[in-house]
Amino acid sequence: MEQDRFKKTRRMILVRALLPAFAVLMLVCTTLVYYFGIYSRDRVKAEMETVVRGHLQIIDRFLEERAADLRLTSASYDAAYLSEDKNLARVLRNLQAGSNAFFDVGVFDKDGNHLAYVGPYDLAGKKYSDAPWWKAVKEKGIYVSDVFLGFRNIPHFIVAVRGGSPEEPWYLRATIDSMAFNDLVESVRIGKTGEAYLVSKGGLFQTKRRSGGNLMDPDPDFEKYESGSNRIETFTAVSASGDKFLFATGELKMADLVLVVRQETDEAYAPVVGAVTVASAIILGGGGLVAVLSYILASYLAGQLSTAERENRQMRTQLIIAGKLAELGEMSAGVAHEINNPLQVMKSEHTLISDLLSDAEEEGGHIDADHLAIIKDSVDQIALQIDRCKNITQGLLRFARKSESSMEAVSIQGFLPTVVDMVEHQAFLSNIKIIQELDPDLPSVMSDPNQLQQVFLNLLNNAIHAIDGRQSGEVRIRAGRENSHLKISVTDNGCGIKPEDMEKIFLPFFTTKPVGQGTGLGLSTAYGIVKGLGGEIDVTSELNAGTVFTVTLPIEAGERAGG
């Protein structure tokens, strides 16, 4: 029972006070980590895109410059001049002075016939009208080819431009060593697995791939690349080797080549995963710690609360007991007087009988009728006084009986007069009349008669004390029904209660009596009992006019029990 209450309180504290705060904290932390993860991933992608964009620009510029070199040449000279081998050789030297990437140079007429050639191959006089580069340059006026392995196994590509007028075109073609930008691409290193390479639109490697893939080999991952537009794309895909990579791809403007930068996702996202893992660990650890501390705190609070409640309960019980003892103490002085009076009478009668008996002995056992009658009368008187004592002790026992709160149907008409009987004599001694005005058809109440007796005994004693020493004292005890309650009032015409004392009278140990004569427990006990029985106790008072205490008790089951 106690344990249940403790658990219930602890759960209440946890659920109502600590859980919402904890949930909000966890939600905030989780959200922060989630967005941090997304942000960090975007940063990794953005870095890759930057690498791709930068390299694309460099390569495009390189190609543009070489194309511009050729265009300048085609604009500066005519086909006839360049068809002379020595003139073409001088042009090649000029070109090579601008960029040593130029490898050879050739001049073609409008039908694709090789007019002149300067370079290591023997190509002069060959016809190229069916070659794809020829068709492309004829159409567009400029052409940049894919990379191929040429002489001495060095990667090369072709740049061709159109010269002359549209009616009489001729063409200038140069082979360019691509080492200049191959090195640039191949040297890209991001972490351990990050690398960059160029792929032709035909899916062939245009630069060597560090993780495997030679020049001109087909790229096994080519189909996975999401290119085609001018934008730089980032995506993740599983490569032919089975590893998952983060890719960034972009197309060159000057050539049909795709620049690919890729890094294994495990490595690319390692810092993000690390940070998120650490953050999650801290949140979970912190959350766990908070949960444990919350549990401990809640247990502690619940423990404190149950202890306080238990102490409060004990205190109330003790207060009732103390009040009872105090009442008993106050009564005992009165009771001593009550019992000593009949004892005194009995003692006198006893002496009288003894006297008469010793008279009879002196006369030899003879006793006269007169004396016999007196003795008889005395014995009757003794019996009468014994009964009187018996009534007193029984009343006392009723009061002092251990009261375990036992609810039973109490008939107020029968009950109140017995309480009044207990104080009647005291009232008589103080010249106080006790008037009972009980409605004849009162229902029984479900209550504890012992506790009720303590309450009304206290109220009646208080009333008698309030009147003590005044003329024509009167205590009126009224009982009547009011809806589902029973109202019992005790009215006196005594000294009344000072207004400043009114709010204190139900406090324990508050008393207006001189030191040693009142414990201040009577009314507080009565208050506790009435509250405990589910009732109310009220007071109205006028100084020097009198006081009314009203006890309201619920009838509840009493009506049914009483029929």
Partner: protein, 150 residues
């Protein structure tokens, strides 16, 4: 010594009756009163030596009766009877000039002893007063006439 005249004041009629019988039998002239008002009237009409007074009584309270007796009949000795276990009321009584107190229930013999003691005290006081008066007359014989002239 003359017969001792005692007045019993108590609210227990039966106690008064029986005790009167017992005391009369023992040579004490006993009057009884069940309340203070009647007691004061008896004191006026009879030359009472000793009063036996129950402290706790309805009507005129025992202590109040004691005060009145001591006021109007200062030479009358008062024995208090108290039913209280506490001596509080007895102490108050002694302070007001009571001769002694007895706690109920008490023996008739104890009561008689106290009555005799009280009576002796009263007799001694009266003797002293008598003696003082005589000495007064002897030392100032003419004063007797002064008084008479007054």
């Amino acid at each position: 010594m003359d017969t001792v005249k005692v007045l019993l004041i108590d609210d227990e009629e039966r106690f008064l009756a029986t005790t009167k019988t017992l005391l009369d039998k023992r040579g004490v002239k006993t009057f009884t009163a069940s309340n203070g008002v009647f007691a004061l009237k008896l004191l006026e009409d009879n030359a009472i030596d000793v009063v036996v007074l129950d402290v706790k009584m309805p009507g005129l309270d025992g202590i109040e009766v004691l005060r009145k007796i001591k006021q109007r009949f200062p030479l009358v000795e008062v024995l208090m009877l108290t039913g209280h276990a506490s001596v509080k009321s007895a102490v108050e009584g002694l302070r007001l000039g009571a001769f002694d107190y007895l706690v109920k229930p008490c023996d008739v013999s104890d009561l008689l002893d106290k009555i005799n003691e009280a009576h002796e005290k009263r007799a001694a006081v009266e003797a002293k007063i008598q003696k003082a008066k005589i000495e007064d007359i002897i030392s100032h014989p003419l004063a007797v006439f002064d008084k008479k002239n007054n």
